[in-house]
């Protein structure tokens, strides 16, 4: 905690209703964020039990610089993922980190299962487990509206909540954060549901004094100017991440129709430029970020004759446009926004949800399943039926949709089509089919995300291919991002927060013992955190040699190149060797 020698951990046991606080000096060596959360997950998890057992913990943590410097906006959630069965890690922006900071909580550990649906209300030191029976079944947006009306704290609160998908234990369910952000990947929504936990709302106003104002403001201003006066973050503010639709289409790395192709002849109608022109109505920011990358698109929908319209305001990003757009053969930004709105309301992870629908569509086309399973015919480009199928997944309408809502790895075990179930390590693949860096990165990354180690950026940087160099680069980036995620910055600002900037920011607020702040400290910190994650994965029997990789990624060319599975697996083994060395080290 800022200005203190300890990390403040709030423990909530939903089974007993017991609440306790630990002031942990020993956790300081993990700095904050993902470091602290990893250690707490390792301590609290029950490796022998199902990810949805009441005993399993949910950990939330903010970082060492949360809320006090520009673009340090994220909260990390760690849990055992019901999707992959191993380490679960997810980040969200919005206001959750800001309110945790204001309430004076560094980390939150939730265990147990409430007897009846509940939500947790935190207001500084007042913590209540409240009745949420009437909220059960509500859409993510609706429950937010209700909690806003019964709780105070307008303008300085955060409400995170699940939709029906989480309640129904769909393994690809997400947690909605403040309407427009999410703990999206890896199934945290189902873990909430397994605990009868509908929502958490946090407000706070505990004052924390600035000890060295001159030093703090100097560093704050340097970072603020870098964020607002340089080109480092322009991309995220202007068209936002959807700029990547055209970029990835041109280099042929855009998933199309269940990754049967990586290129569209004409991507204009779903491009970031088109969304900006036709639908963009405003941009908003996570608290503490002067960039404001959250792009809100509007679509008008006729719900009855006689000019009866409703308006949907939907946050959109590249990966959602790819997975619910090009990957489902959708044309037109309006239709994609409608699909995004549907997964939002039902509380499904948009990326996994899109890939599940694409898999189901191909199964239907190939006659592995019929309308007996799908209820409505699933066809690429058919929005109306996809809207129905999203609901069927969230409500587990029949046996097929129940399996599908657990992800393509589960569904394909039952209904076939493993070769085109586009997942890696059971996690639906991120929407960047750029090459070996991406596939090795997804496979080896602690949470199987493109954001673990930026392997997809390595591919796009056009390095001359060298397997050792690729593995080393991806590994080093994985470790480096453990540091960024202990702060916890938004990774869009990763070029702003270079080592020198991180060190001066930590120094300005006395976050670390003076004298120990140098590059060596950061490197050791990254390795210590990554090693803790490896310990978690080891305890959960994760083995990179046994990792499942969809055959589809070796059939559809990535940036015009067919990838070789043997070579990919060779690089994964090289990565595994590096992991093993780290695990055996003294760090």
């Amino acid at each position: 905690m800022l200005n203190e020698k300890y990390i403040k951990v709030l423990n909530i046991d939903l089974s007993s209703g017991k609440i306790s606080v630990d002031l942990r000096e020993d956790l300081k060596e993990f700095l904050g964020g993902v470091g602290v959360a990893s250690k707490l997950l390792l301590e609290n998890m029950a490796p022998e039990l199902n990810p949805l057992s009441p005993e399993q913990p949910i950990i939330f943590a903010i970082g060492a610089l949360s809320s006090i410097f520009p673009v340090v906006t994220k909260t990390v959630a760690m849990f055992i993922s019901p999707v992959t069965g191993e380490l679960g890690e997810s980040y969200a922006g919005g206001r959750f980190a800001y309110t945790m900071f204001n309430a004076g909580i560094d980390a939150l550990v939730i265990k147990g299962k409430a007897k009846k649906p509940c939500y947790i209300s935190i207001n500084n030191n007042r913590i209540d487990i409240k009745d949420a029976r009437a909220f059960w079944g509500l859409h993510a947006n609706q429950v937010g509206q209700y909690i806003r009306t019964v709780e105070g704290g307008q303008g300085k609160r955060s409400i995170i909540r699940i939709g029906p998908a989480g309640e129904n234990l769909c393994r690809i369910a997400n947690v909605n954060v403040d309407t427009y952000r999410h703990f999206g990947r890896m199934g945290l929504g189902a873990v909430f549901g397994s605990k009868n936990l509908k929502a958490i709302q946090v407000t706070g106003d505990i004052t924390k004094e600035i000890k060295d104002q001159k030093k703090y403001l100097k560093v704050y201003n340097e970072i603020f100017n870098k964020v607002t006066d340089t080109k480092l973050m322009t991309k995220y503010h202007d068209l936002g991440t959807p700029i990547n639709v055209n970029v990835l289409n041109i280099i042929e790395a855009l998933p199309v129709k269940n990754l049967q192709q990586a290129h569209l002849e004409d991507a204009e109608e779903i491009s970031g430029e088109h969304f900006a022109e036709k639908n963009l109505i405003r941009k908003i920011a996570c608290v503490g970020c002067p960039v404001g990358c959250v792009h809100i698109g509007q679509v008008r929908r006729e719900f009855d004759t006689g000019h009866e319209y409703e308006t949907l305001n939907v946050a959109y990003d590249y990966e959602l446009i790819a997975t619910l757009g090009s990957n489902l053969g959708m044309s037109g930004s309006d239709a994609i926004l409608e699909l995004i709105d549907a997964v939002e309301e039902f509380g499904l992870d948009a990326v996994a949800g899109g890939i599940c629908l694409a898999y189901a569509t191909e199964c239907f086309e190939k006659k592995l399943i019929t309308e007996k399973e799908t209820i409505v015919p699933l066809e690429f480009g058919n929005k109306e039926n996809y809207l129905k199928a999203i609901k069927f997944m969230a409500t587990k309408e029949n046996e097929f949709y129940a399996a599908l809502s657990d992800g393509v790895a589960v569904a394909s075990q039952k209904y076939g089509g493993e070769e085109f179930a586009v997942s890696i390590a059971k996690n639906e693949m991120p929407a960047y089919h750029t090459g070996y860096g991406a596939i090795v990165g997804y496979s080896c990354g602690a949470r199987h995300s493109h954001l673990c180690n930026g392997g997809y950026s390595y591919d796009q940087a056009n390095h001359e291919f060298d397997k050792q160099a690729l593995v080393d680069s991806v590994f080093d980036e994985e470790v480096k991002r453990c540091v960024l995620n202990s702060l916890i910055i938004c990774l869009f600002a990763r070029n702003v927060y270079d080592n020198a900037t991180i060190l001066s920011a930590l120094d300005a607020v006395n976050a670390v013992e003076p004298g120990s702040l140098n590059d060596e400290y950061l490197e050791q910190l990254g390795l210590r955190i990554y090693k803790t994650k490896l310990k978690i994965k080891k305890a959960l029997d994760f083995d990179l040699s046994k990792i499942q990789i969809s055959k589809r990624v070796f059939v559809t060319p990535a940036m015009k190149e067919i990838l070789d599975e043997n070579l990919t697996r060779e690089m994964i083994e090289m990565f595994k060797k590096k992991n093993k060395e780290l695990l055996a080290s003294d760090i």
């Binding site: 509206q145 004052t207 004094e209 600035i210 104002q213 703090y216 403001l217 404001g292 959250v294």
Partner: protein, 138 residues
């Protein structure tokens, strides 16, 4: 004549709260925004519009100044008040009298957080939602 804070372009606001951060950080040496004299709010969650609560720089018959029993608040050029902390007895009558609720008592036995129209929030606002404008005292 004097310069006062205006928030007439809040349609452009992205809700980054930088104005709160710098007001609390610079004027009150606080890492937490409860010490900010400007507060950004939303109605109806993040899908609603943002608006800013801050001192509206009343002139003439100034409610908070009139409510203050000790004369700790005096009229400032252009509008609003100047706080003399030494005269403040923390009675909170100023906060009660302010109909836009722009005066905050955050600690017991401490003077209020009250906007002094210094313009620091304006300087940092990335979208120019906030401005300093000349205003007559009358």
């Amino acid at each position: 004549m004097g310069k006062v804070l205006k928030s007439n372009d809040m349609n452009k606001c992205i809700g980054c709260f930088t104005c709160q951060r710098v007001c609390a950080g610079i004027n009150h040496k606080s890492f937490t925004d409860d010490k900010s004299a400007i507060k950004i709010r939303t109605l109806g969650g993040l899908s609603g519009k943002f608006f800013a609560t801050h001192c509206l720089a009343c002139t003439g018959d100034i409610a908070c100044m009139n409510a203050c029993p000790t004369g700790a608040l005096t009229a400032r050029p252009g509008g609003g008040v100047v706080l003399n902390e030494k005269k403040c007895i923390y009675c909170k009558k100023c906060a009660e009298s302010c109909i836009v609720k722009a005066i905050y008592f955050t600690d017991e036995n401490s003077p209020p957080i009250i906007c002094k129209h210094c313009g620091i929030c304006v300087k940092y606002c990335p979208h120019n939602c906030l401005t300093m404008e000349d205003k007559d005292d009358a």
